[in-house]
Each structure stands twice: as C-alpha cells, then as structure tokens.
C-alpha cells in the first residue's frame, strides 16, 4: 500500500502539463502522416505497409539535402517526390505483377531500409541542427532564415501553429481532390472496383495514383518530423503504420460518437489529425505514469486494439446470442411465476 502511495506521490502534474505542447505538436505531425494512411487504408481499402519505409525516406532526403546546402523548400519537395516514387513502386508491384496488397507494401518497406541508408550516405542518423540552419517562422530575428527549418521543437508553440496550418492546407487540398472527377474515381475504385471498371475507370491506374499520393504525404510528414526533432534516423519510420492506423481509428471512433450521421468527409479528415493528437496525449499520460519508454509500442498496440474492438463489441452487445438466451430465460421465469 505504501508503495502505491509513494508511486502516486511521485507523479508531478506539472511534468505532464509541461510535456503537453510537445505532445500536441507531435500529434499534429503524425496526424498529417495519418492523412496519408487514410488515403490507402480507408479510401482505397488497401492496407499499405510501405509507409514505415517512406516516412523515413522523407526524413532522410530532407537531412541529406539540407546538409548539401539545398533550401528547405526544395528538400521538402524532393522528400514528397521520393515518397511518391515509393508508392509508385508498391502500386506497380501490386497491379503490374499481381502481388497481394500487404505483401507488395512489405516488399517496398524492406527495400526502402537500405535505400534510406544510401540516401544518408550510410549514416543511420543525421542531425539537422536548428542552430545551423535557422528557422523560417520565428519571432527570434537572430535565428530567422528564409531557407531555414520550417519548425523545430526548440520553439514548440510556433511548431504547433505551423503544423496546424500545414495540416489544414493538406485537408483542404484532399477535400477538393476527392471531390473531383479523378478523386471520385479513386473513391469508387476503393469502395467497389467492379462498379468502377464497369464505369470505364482504369482501377489499376487509380490504385497507383492513390498509393503514390499517400506515400508522398507520408514522406512529407517524415520531413516535417525530422525538422521538428532535429535529426533524421533510418529507424524513424519503424511502427509508423501502427501510429497512423491508431490516429485514423481513434479519430473515427470518437468522431462517429460525437457527430453520428453528420460525420462528413471534411470532419473525417479533421478527426484523423485529432486522432493523432489524442494518441500522443495518451502516450504523454503513459510516460507521465512512469511506464518504461521502451514499452511504448506495446501500449500503442493495446490502444489500437481497444479502439478497433469498441465498435465491434458495442455492435455485438446489441445483437448477441447470450442476450436472447437471457431474455428468454427471464420470460420463462415470469411465466412460471404467474402460473404458480
């Protein structure tokens, strides 16, 4: 008992509060990554595991280009294009060579690991120090550099604002794109490929486009995270698909609970990012409770499992064999009593 009291006594609420802004910033960044996952997982109905590789590709490209003196804008654009290429390869493996979706993603993911190492000149880790590059968005005139980093954890509040603005722009573009003729065709391809083909849509091309866009977005968010944390690491994408799925699923469960039938497309996109933030808040709580950091992925898996299970179990509780059996027993008992 004393142990418990000691444990709770040692938890300092101010530590949790001070970690809050950082968690929110990371949550938005991973939310942007999750928007990419949303394109494949929800819109295309394709469980794409390429992202674990392409996320790190985004960071690696950004780091090496900055080191070679490229402006950040160019570095971010090339990171985006590198991600698009990765998605393209997965798409071709799947459509041209007939490899099943999960497997083609895994192949790309594995292939990207050495490629990412090559991109970073065989360094597994490269720092992008904000002191060396400066920042684009900052109130500190000494650090201002139009070609500097877009964000850094050194200035968390600015990072939150910049990340949020970028997320909003991306959501707006996605909202527009998936309302166009091309975007609608992709949605049809994901939801009902037979109908899509009957309506003259080349479903292979549309799958490739969606995979490319998704991985482009994932690599772009990898570039942002590398800047935020001040380094790119060849392992930074490991497990990112699970975090992306966590954000998508947490956002969906909570959004549906709040908006029910009015949960439209723009709200869905918004709640993907909200899901990312909530995920990092939960992680913040877990760390604050002094759970060992090396077990974080374990908690991630548990959280995702819970959020995946909740809608299923809720549906089942409304519609279960046990419930009918219980009800019938009750009725039989009542009848017995009235007969007696």
């Amino acid at each position: 008992m004393d142990g418990f009291l000691d444990y709770f006594g040692s938890l300092d609420p101010s530590l949790f509060v001070s970690a809050l802004p950082g968690n929110i910033a990371q949550g938005i960044l991973w939310g942007i990554m999750a928007l990419g996952v949303y394109i494949t997982f929800r819109i295309l109905n394709f469980a794409d595991l390429t992202v674990d590789g392409s996320f790190a590709t985004g960071g690696a490209v950004t780091a090496i280009m900055l080191m070679n003196g490229a402006p950040i804008w160019v570095a971010m654009l090339v990171a985006f294009l590198a991600g698009i290429t990765a998605g393209l390869v997965t798409g071709l493996l799947h459509t041209l060579l007939g490899i099943p979706d999960i497997l083609s993603g895994i192949l790309s993911q594995i292939a990207l690991y050495p490629i990412n190492l090559h991109i970073m000149n065989k360094f597994s880790n490269m720092s992008i120090r904000v002191d060396n590059y400066g920042m684009v968005f900052t109130s500190d005139s000494e650090k201002f550099n139009i070609c500097g980093l877009v964000m850094s954890m050194r200035d968390v509040y600015t990072a939150i604002i910049v990340a949020a603005v970028i997320a909003i722009i991306i959501m707006a573009v996605m909202y527009w794109y998936f309302g166009t003729e091309q975007g609608s065709a992709i949605r049809a391809t994901g939801a009902n490929p037979k109908m899509a083909a009957a309506q003259g849509i080349n479903i292979n091309i549309d799958k490739i486009i969606a995979l490319a866009l998704s991985n482009g977005l994932v690599a772009f968010s990898g570039s942002l995270l590398a800047q935020y944390q001040g380094f790119a690491d060849v392992n930074m994408g490991r497990g990112s698909i699970v975090i992306g799925l966590a954000a998508v699923i947490i956002g969906q469960v909570i959004g549906e609970a709040i908006f029910r039938k009015n949960f439209n497309f723009i709200l869905r996109l918004t709640f993907v990012v909200v899901g990312g933030i909530l995920y990092y808040l939960v992680m913040g709580v877990v760390l604050w409770l002094k759970m060992p950091p090396e077990d974080l992925k374990l908690f991630t898996a548990i959280i995702v499992a819970i959020f995946l299970a909740v809608p299923y179990l809720r549906g089942k509780s409304k519609n279960s064999f046990k419930k009918v059996a219980r009800m019938n027993k009750k009725i039989a008992k009542l009848e017995d009593e009235s007969n007696a």
Partner: protein, 266 residues
Amino acid sequence: MLEIKDVYKTFNKGTVNEKTALNGVDLKLNDGDFCTIIGGNGAGKSTMLNAIAGVWPVDRGVIFLGDKDVTGLPEHKRASYLGRVFQDPMMGTVADMEIIENLAIAARRGKKRTLMWNVTKAEKEKYREMLAQFDLGLENRMTSKVGLLSGGQRQAITLLMATIKKPQLLLLDEHTAALDPKTAAKVLELSDKIIEENKLTALMVTHNMHDAIAHGNRLIMMNNGKIIFDIQGEEKKKLKTSDLLEKFSVASGGQELDNDRMLLSK
C-alpha cells in the same frame, strides 16, 4: 450493332474443374434489338455477357460493337460503349457515395477523368428530372448515400447509371433476380421504358421464361455454351412457355429441362 463470331471460353483449363463456358457462340444483334437470353444454370448466359463486357479475354473468336472490334480491349475501355446492370444490387453502385455522385461517375463513362468538380450544378437539375421520372421519390434524396436505399431502388439507380450516357449496348445480367416479385416487376417495367424511350439495343439474361417471352423483340436460348434457339418478331410474340420447354428438349437432343428455378418461374 453487336456481332459475336465463334467465341470460345474455357475456365480452369487443365484442372479437374475445367469448364467450357462458351463453346462457339455466334450472335448478331441489329440496331434497336431487345433480346432476352434464357437457359439453365451454367448454360453460358452470364459468361456471354461478361465476354462482351471484357471481364476477361476470350480464348478465341471476335466481338464487334458497331464497326469496332473490341476483342482486344480491356473492361474499362469497352465500358464507354456499354451500360451494365448486375444481378447483385450491391454491385452496380458505391454504397458509401451519394446517389448524385454515383450518377456523375456514370455520366463520365468513356471520358477522361479530370480535376474538375465531379458533380456540377447544371447536372444536378438534369439528374433530379431523370430521377423524378422513376416515381420512387429519389429526386428528393439525391445527396443520400446509396447504401441507405433498398435493393430495388439501387437497381433503379444502376439502370439509370447504365443509360445516363447512351450506351451502344445495354447488358442486363439477371438484374431482377435478387428482388422480390413486386419490385422485380417494377424494375423490369422501368427497363422496358428506358430501352424504348432511348431506342437502345439491349441483351437481358433472365431465369424467368415468362419475362423472357413478355419482354423484347427477340429471344435466344442457350445450353452448354451454345445458342440453341433464336426467335424474333411475330413468331416470338406467339411463343408460349410450353413451346420453350419443347424447343429446349428438341434442341438439346432429348435432354430434359431439369432446372427447378426455370420451371418454377414459368
């Protein structure tokens, strides 16, 4: 309009499940023909429609739509010439998209999909009028998700999608088989109306002999991947189900028509 010459298709070649589904099919449809197709299970009715739609390549033979040889074209390229309605009401529409979005996708069949908005304002009015003709109240639910509709309503939408951009050939693959009798009759009536008003050329597969006789100007019967009976015009009008049963018995070499579904639905 449609010409099929000597088309063959065998599934699962070289395995125990080998099945010759089309065994030398020849068929020529004239402009404006509304042809019903009847036959037992595995006769090759749906397979013939899938061959025309290009779901897979045929083993041998030629398929012409108009003057165009489409035998070498994949499904999505042939789609610009065709309108299709399937047996499964879930198959022809996207449940998670609005009625109007489904219609807009169909209206762009055969066109390049651009970065323009998928549903324009001008279209909305046009679709509203089209839906109003159906008399199903769908014109007031244009932004509802198709998944909320009944099977019959979904088939009506699919029918409209198949004909919204006038196809050279309309393929109806047992499109009322999954509906209750009353809804099926309504959808069939709708099909008749659309085909007549737009002067469409159509192929309709059915299990129901009565429907096969009552609709269209031409009837073909299939058995074992071949067309065994082809009747049109005045002769078809006089046709009775008993005639069909007899024809089947003669044409298939004394084989009994042992298909419950076909017998029960006469």
